[in-house]
């Protein structure tokens, strides 16, 4: 009989291998799923793992989707390491997008180079405000941050609907629920002519470096994580758990808001009800699959972006609903959590010796 035996020390090898094993299992399940649905599994794998990287245009699209995932997941990684469960990044993303749009709608040519930084700062601020509500209610009233942050996602989407159906609706937009497109000066500069990928990629990579420095090379970042690993030790060492809560939520909210600003002033170019596409939730998976490590998140964000693009291609090429992407995302997190057992335990054949 198989049983689990605790390892004397957590296995470093398995902490790297576990996401790969989880991905392998997810792919196997995907192949089975394609076969059951009567689709060619080779074609299915091609759509998910080859088409998104086959040429420059595809790679640009891959990075367009990986950028928001990466930025949001960086903030969430800090949150989860601090044992703060912010699962409302989607709402912070939306409010960040709304704040950014508010500034972008005021921008005209006279703003010059200041326009883009102003839009981004507004997005960060919006995300911080929205996450700050959760932090305040947790800190002041002990309200569970999981439920509060999630409820605020639904409220944020209603706020978005209010502004695009109401005060900010484009008067020249044939009554469509959307704002006018932003002035060129407010649009995020692109990296290459003809490709949608923009400087958001550089910002996200800078974010990776900053988060790595904060987590592993600063005293504040260390104190932040001790609270997550050993609350009692953190109290004894004098690390404030209230501070950790506020830092975690404001950083992750600000990151999600930044992603919202980059999205709305980048690929989309106007505020519409279709701004939220689940990046805030997918980023939770990105953070875990990337081992809550900034460098790991780069890879997992690209992987998750492949799922997004693969889902869209599966719809147009294979006639499958694009929500198949959500199935794979959920499966990946599920299998990852199961595989992570191998970090703490080893599988042993035979009965327990006693």
């Amino acid at each position: 009989m198989l049983r689990l035996e605790p390892r004397p020390q957590p296995s470093t090898a398995w902490s790297y291998a576990s996401p790969l094993l989880a991905l392998a299992i997810t792919v196997v399940i995907g192949v089975v799923l394609f076969s059951v649905l009567g689709k060619d599994p080779v074609r299915g794998l091609q759509v998910f793992f080859w088409e998104p990287i086959k040429n420059g245009y595809a790679l640009s699209e891959l990075m367009v989707k990986a950028t928001p995932l990466m930025i949001i997941a960086l903030g969430l990684a800090l949150c989860f390491r601090s044992n703060v469960w912010n699962i409302g990044a989607e709402g912070q993303f939306v409010i960040g997008a709304i704040f950014a749009a508010g500034v972008a709608l005021m921008v005209d040519r006279s703003w010059g180079w200041l326009a883009v930084p102003a839009v981004l700062v507004a997005g960060v601020f919006g995300g911080m405000v929205w996450a700050g509500i959760t932090a305040l209610l947790r800190d002041r009233f002990n309200a569970n941050e999981i439920l509060v942050s999630l409820m605020l996602v639904y409220v944020a989407i209603q706020v978005l609907n209010y502004v695009v159906f109401g005060p900010w609706k484009d008067p020249m937009g044939f009554n469509m629920p959307q704002t006018p497109t932003f002035d060129r000066a407010a649009r995020i500069p692109r990296l290459f002519e003809g490709l949608r990928v923009n400087i958001g990629v550089l910002i996200s990579l800078a974010g990776v470096a900053l988060m790595w420095l904060f987590m592993f090379r600063t005293y504040a970042g260390y104190g932040q994580q001790v609270g997550g690993l050993a609350p009692a030790a953190a109290r004894y060492a004098g690390f404030s758990s209230r501070r950790a809560l506020w830092v975690a939520l404001l950083v992750s909210g600000g990151a999600a808001g930044l992603a919202g600003a980059l999205e709305v002033a980048g690929p989309i170019g106007q505020l519409t009800p279709h701004v939220p596409v689940g990046y805030g939730f997918a980023a939770i998976i990105v953070a875990f699959v990337g081992r809550l490590h900034p460098v790991g998140i780069v890879f997992s964000a690209i992987l998750m972006s492949m799922f997004y693009i693969g889902g869209e291609l599966a719809q147009s090429r294979l006639g499958l609903p694009k929500s198949i992407n959500g199935v794979f995302q959920g499966l990946l997190l599920f299998t990852l959590l199961a595989c992570d057992t191998l970090i703490q335990y080893r599988v042993v054949l035979g009965r327990r010796r006693s």
Partner: protein
């Protein structure tokens, strides 16, 4: 007056969806397990129930299918968190994300189906009673099922030996283990039973309450149900009352819109979510009260023999 009782009836119907799910989650939490996957289980169960009714025409089979779907998903969740000691929050989230994605994927072909032609509605015997008659006729049968589940749960928790063992597992798994109770098996059974109740709530939503299937149709009800167990300080009767209160809040938007009150539609749609936040704030501000009522081992993994 008749209108008032009609509103009460629709509020009770809306509240029953939340009540049944929240009672299921209460059963989990009494055994020490938090299942954040409620939303995912309810969605998959809603689809399973709906699809079953479309193919068989039987409402009861639909509800049963929903319960099975909820139980299966909860069973997998239970295996992970109870035997593999995965983090309960992360695993529950995974279940919710998977459930949202899977139900959207598998349910695409059902979005245009309509159940009203397949279900036979029998005229209620109450319809002719004056004043309260129309209200009673509007009540779904599931309201009584919800009441029965609550009564059964009170009896089980506080009047049976098995209920006492379940609560002791939730309060102090190490002591329960030392006394020889199979802590993991008990927790797993509680998780599966709780999941089947979440499934029942989801199937009720899609086959009776709306009755149609749309992507993400639970609209956060699973999460509100999770908040309800805290709101009720883990007491079955208060769970039911809290759920009815939320049912009334949900119906208020339609009521106010019908009255032509000048409030933005978006604010009205936000009401259930804002109410959840407000209620959580009000109930959680006294940490002592929460701590004394909360099952002590909630959210913590149990390692036998450590």
């Amino acid at each position: 007056m008749e209108v008032f009782f009609l509103n009460v009836a629709t509020s009770l119907n809306a509240g029953t969806v939340l009540a049944i799910a929240a009672l299921g989650l209460l059963l989990n939490e009494k055994a020490g397990i938090v299942n954040l996957g409620a939303e995912g289980m309810m969605l998959c169960a809603a689809l399973a129930g709906f699809a079953t009714v479309v193919h068989t025409g039987s409402g009861l089979a639909g509800l049963a299918a929903g319960m099975v779907a909820g139980a299966v998903l909860a069973g997998i969740f239970g295996l992970l968190v109870i035997w593999l000691n995965t983090n309960q929050y992360a695993t529950g989230l995974a279940l919710s994300l998977f459930g949202v994605g899977f139900s959207a994927f598998a349910g695409v072909s059902y979005t245009r189906e309509n159940l009203s032609s397949k279900m036979v509605s029998t005229p209620s015997i109450w319809a002719d009673v004056p004043v309260i008659g129309p209200g009673l006729a509007r009540l779904d049968g599931m309201v009584w099922v919800g009441l029965a589940i609550m009564a059964g749960m009170i009896w089980f928790f506080y009047r049976t030996r098995a209920g006492l063992v379940l609560r002791s597992v939730g309060e102090n798994p190490d002591s329960a283990h030392a006394l020889g109770y199979p802590v993991r098996r008990i927790r797993w059974l509680a998780v599966v039973a709780g999941g089947s109740l979440c499934g029942l709530a989801g199937a009720y939503l899609s086959t009776v309450y709306t009755p149609l299937w749309t992507e993400g149709m639970t609209a956060g009800r699973g999460w509100i149900a999770l908040a309800l167990t805290t709101f009720a300080t883990w007491r079955p009767a208060r769970v039911l009352l809290g759920a009815y209160l939320f049912g009334a809040v949900t119906m208020m938007q339609f009521y106010l819109q019908g009255r032509g009150v000048q409030v933005s539609a978006e604010l009205l749609s936000s009401l259930p979510y804002l109410a959840t936040v407000i209620v959580l704030v009000l109930i959680s501000r006294n940490p002592v009260w929460i701590r004394t009522n909360m099952p002590a081992s909630i959210g913590k993994p149990f390692y036998p023999g450590s």
